[in-house]
Subunit: 365 residues, 2 copies
């Protein structure tokens, strides 16, 4: 194998596929990146067997071939090289020689045929979607997945495609995030759970307004956008019936400035009792009052003007669950719907029905 | 005590003095910041008993008084407050009430008279110096101090004032950094060792071109600049005779591009044997060759064009010691002076004699 490639081009490719490379795999070859040179392209692949990321970059292929090189070393070397063409030559013993300007590196590689093949994802249902739109949906739900490995079906986000809509849902059983997208065209039904790591990497790698391709099979999901392909396993199991969790009506409804609410909640969370993280909120005559007490250090009282409809009420929340959603909401105003202090609260963007966040109340002491 | 103060003003003050607040002190009151309100000023003080930082800010003092409040809480609350006036009221039981807009916080404080007094530094020798000039001197030497607590006199930087010059020196016995400043006026003699933490905080806090005042006594040193005063203990002991360490002559002298040398050294350091960090350098016919071998991953070879005078030679260095100084040097070109592979090497800015860095050779294997 012998190639010439632009430094920036290959560095970006390596950074991209490195996101799938596991630092703590027991299989040494998985700490490497597969490089395949063919037809004036290099295909780079990284995988931890759960998720695989492929990236295709342009190169001058002098001799076709392939090799697996250690991801961290490769990335660190190329990062420090000048912005010039890099030549890579691989011999029969899987030793790679990298030349750039007056630098030369020899790196021991692994034979490419020992690298696990990413599964071929071919027969499946295919969808097309604008990249940023999908990223926005992911960002709205990815933070509410569970870390509890004993209930794996909560450790990912549900992707539900039915009729003319794409829906995404996540819950850790203390809060639930739901977002939907109306596409105005009939779509084949699908209902799968995507691991939260896959959602995070997708969100980080999507960087254009162009269309992306999503291909769903029984066990795998494939995302294709720009020069990147991500293949991920799906999580088995039955996702909870989220419709039962989203309240249909409310007895109190307020509109409030998002930034004021976010900053007040952050301040109040400094005075929570030990690590409970509980803040008390009162909705009273066009005022939202946030109180936290019980900390050894002191206590806090916050008052925010709101526009309220319905009854006055009180409810206690985990401050972090409130902060998480307020960081994601893009609208200046949020809508909070409550049905007393013992029923779940709903937070939405005001004038916007496509994002619903449900947060369970906690008992305040 | 009752004051009104601008949010940004007090936040900056708190951030400044927090640098001296210890997070792991056994004395709870030292986790706090002393606030003293008097004559339309608030004096903020933080100390870990080794270093004390004072900052004076403008405020409307309604009632004079003082209190000690927990630094982290204070800083976190005020950070999240809107950019408005903050009112602080302290009652007789050392409880502080902070009001801003519609937020109210109650924080339990400590009585101010239990806070350790910073030593009065009055009788001493006084010097005046441009702030940025002094910061530049500190940055040139602070990274070469030792962490070895068994030789405390190496854990700080020497400040030597004699004749018409200010000199600063540091060494960890593997390398030595020396910088001097010619002031063209006679100065009182002084020779003290400043703790490396003090040097770091000074470098971070200096942010103007104006003059600063330095006051030296037997045990303490005081720095006064902008609205900040830093008082630090001095380190006792005899600093090594650095003149003996700086070589007087050389048999090889090269000029080389700093950035090329820095990047090549960084790349070479990726291939060092285990954690030895040793790279081999050869100076040969206007070329500098850097090689590292012995790593399991591979090896590297770097060639850089130089302008050489004198003999060809070879020498091995700790790569990090080379990287450290190259990061600080501002000049595009560096001058390297050698006397064979067993004598210390000297690195300087080319065309500039006021900074000398001496680096010990290591035995390469």
């Amino acid at each position: 194998m012998q190639i010439k490639v632009d430094k920036k081009e290959i560095y970006n490719g390596i950074k991209t596929v490195s996101k799938a490379v596991s630092s703590k795999s027991t299989l040494p070859i998985l700490s490497g990146i597969l490089m395949e040179a063919k037809d004036d392209k290099i295909k780079l692949v990284g995988t931890d067997l759960e998720i695989g990321i492929e990236c295709s970059i342009n190169a001058k292929v002098i001799n076709e071939g392939n090799i697996v090189l250690p991801a961290t070393y490769l990335s660190n070397i190329i990062k420090e090289l000048p912005n010039q063409d890099i030549e890579l030559i691989v011999d029969e013993d899987n030793n790679a020689k990298i030349n750039c300007n007056l630098s030369e590196f020899k790196i021991h590689g692994f034979p490419a045929d020992e690298f696990p093949l990413l599964p071929e994802v071919e027969a499946g249902t295919q969808y097309k979607l604008e990249q940023q739109t999908f990223k926005n949906m992911i960002d709205r739900i990815k933070f509410a997945t569970s870390n509890d490995e004993s209930r794996p079906f909560l450790t990912g986000g549900l992707l539900l495609i039915e009729d003319q809509e794409i829906k995404m849902v996540s819950t850790d059983s203390y809060r639930l995030a739901y977002t939907e997208l109306e596409l105005n065209k009939d779509l084949s039904f699908n209902k799968v759970i995507i691991p939260s790591k896959t959602l995070s990497e997708l969100s980080k790698l999507i960087n254009s307004d162009e269309e992306m391709k999503i291909l769903v099979t029984d066990n795998q999901i494939l995302f294709e956008f720009s020069n990147i392909t991500i293949i991920s396993r799906l999580i088995e199991g039955q996702f909870p019936n989220y419709n039962q969790v989203i309240p249909n009506d409310s007895t109190t409804e307020i509109k409030v400035n998002k930034k004021e609410l976010l900053n007040a909640t952050k301040r109040a969370s400094l005075f929570v009792k030990d690590n409970s993280n509980i803040i008390k909120t009162s909705f009273k005559n066009n005022k939202l009052i946030i109180e936290s007490t019980g900390s050894k250090v002191g206590e806090s009282y916050e008052e925010i003007n709101t526009s309220q409809q319905g009854e006055n009420t009180e409810i206690a929340f985990n401050a972090n669950y409130l902060i998480d959603v307020l960081k994601v909401i893009k609208n200046d105003q949020v809508l909070i719907k409550l049905s007393g202090g013992l029923s779940p609260g709903v937070i939405q963007e005001s004038n916007n029905d496509d994002y619903i966040y449900v947060i369970m109340p906690v008992r305040s002491t």
